[in-house]
Symmetry: C2
Subunit: 249 residues, 2 copies
């Protein structure tokens, strides 16, 4: 791993690393915040998955999360949202290809075999973070929009790996949304049974989730109809999952 940026932040350290990724077949970039406590002990980790068009820099620069993390002794990991670079497949639309990996393992060309953001975040980068930094086995995952979708689906598939999950305005039911149907077809092909593996609402009905989930949603969100929070709340109700759903101005 190559350290490409490092700054002091609330007594801890914001760092950006670049590394060759086996999952993606190209170099990937991620950010990590290590709180001051990490100098003397191992700390739990909160993963933050960003949304469409974002890079690792998004929440790292904007969320103001480091102050909280420094107080609570929490490491933060900010993965990128897709592969990037001149040799990497892309689409003219902002919501497909680079900046829009949707946290899936693509099976269709030109996205396969390298658009494997599910494997990258949940396997390769997870292992890399655990083996390279002073972190415990306690990991939580969160994100917003496409990243909220990623957080929910990664957690539901890996309940032993992620002990907590939450999301801001997640794409909650992509198989029934214009933020999802196009991308899932492009990445996975026409068989909608495969899409269901990447739909939090469908996964909750199928697999459940034994702990609670926190979702925060603005009631005047311009993308409300694309996010489909109602389907998620209905899925948790019918599957008996404890959802704290905060919808507010």
């Amino acid at each position: 791993m190559e350290l490409i940026e490092s700054t002091v932040c609330f007594g801890g350290k914001n760092a950006v690393y670049r590394h060759p990724s086996d999952a993606c077949g190209c170099d990937m970039t991620f950010g990590i915040y290590l709180p001051p406590q990490a100098e003397t002990t191992s700390v739990p980790v909160l993963w933050y998955l960003s949304g469409l068009t974002c890079t690792h820099e998004n929440a790292m620069s904007k969320a103001g999360l480091q102050k909280f993390a420094a107080k609570r002794g929490l490491a933060l990991v900010f993965p990128d949202t897709s592969l990037r670079g001149e040799g990497v497949a892309d689409d003219e639309a902002y919501d497909l290809g680079q900046g829009a990996g949707f946290y899936v393992n693509a099976t269709q060309k030109p996205w396969a075999p390298h658009f494997r953001m599910y494997d990258y975040v949940a396997r390769e980068l997870f292992y890399k973070v655990c083996s390279s930094f002073p972190v415990t086995e306690k990991h939580g995952i969160t994100g917003h929009s496409m990243g909220g979708h990623g957080a929910l689906t990664l957690a539901i598939h890996n309940p032993a790996q992620y002990q907590s999950v939450s999301a801001f305005a997640p794409i909650a039911n992509p198989t029934e949304s214009d933020w999802g149907r196009k991308q899932l077809e492009a990445y996975l092909g026409g068989d909608q049974a495969r899409w269901a593996n990447y739909d939090a609402s469908l996964l909750l009905c199928r697999t459940g989730w034994e702990r609670d989930i926190l979702v925060d949603q603005g009631n005047d969100d311009q993308f409300y109809e694309l996010l489909r929070p109602g389907t998620l709340t209905e899925a948790t109700r019918s599957s008996g999952v404890a959802l704290t759903y905060r919808e507010h101005e």
Copy 2:
């Protein structure tokens, strides 16, 4: 003024406005945060001036300042750093022209007569904010890098208007820096006596400042040599101005 964006933030409101500017001869955009207290009373204002390449969106999105402002009942104003648009003069360099107004009134073409960011921020937008929003006469001003330069110079010229001033890593002595000499010559011409009006260190020696100043500076800042904090601390010492200078990792 046209409201082009509005979101709820810590119980208050983040809003972005566009308006025709007489000072600049084009439309200008600024952000404002009104804390919850502004619904029932007038509130003091903190102006945040951003640095090179930034827009109004920079500190509004990244600084995490709204939580503090909501607690203390403080409005925040985020001006843009220059004129913008297709019909606006520009330079290929990132540090001249659009995104790099340096908070001066240009006298040289092609920047004159419209690059008047000093008049825009300290006069036109100041008046617009005071007449359009529930604010008191208590205004403070701050900023970073080029915006720290702007905050210091605007305050020193207008001590009755700005009751407090502070800066993160300000360009503290632009007449002796590569972040300054090129721009001051382009905007003001070769007469260096005119440049001194826009140099915080020189202004402090000439005019002084009756209250205190707070400056925060990283000791490993990659632009440390361009910012010249030593000249500012020396100027405050020789002019008897109370500077709290925090230099840290």
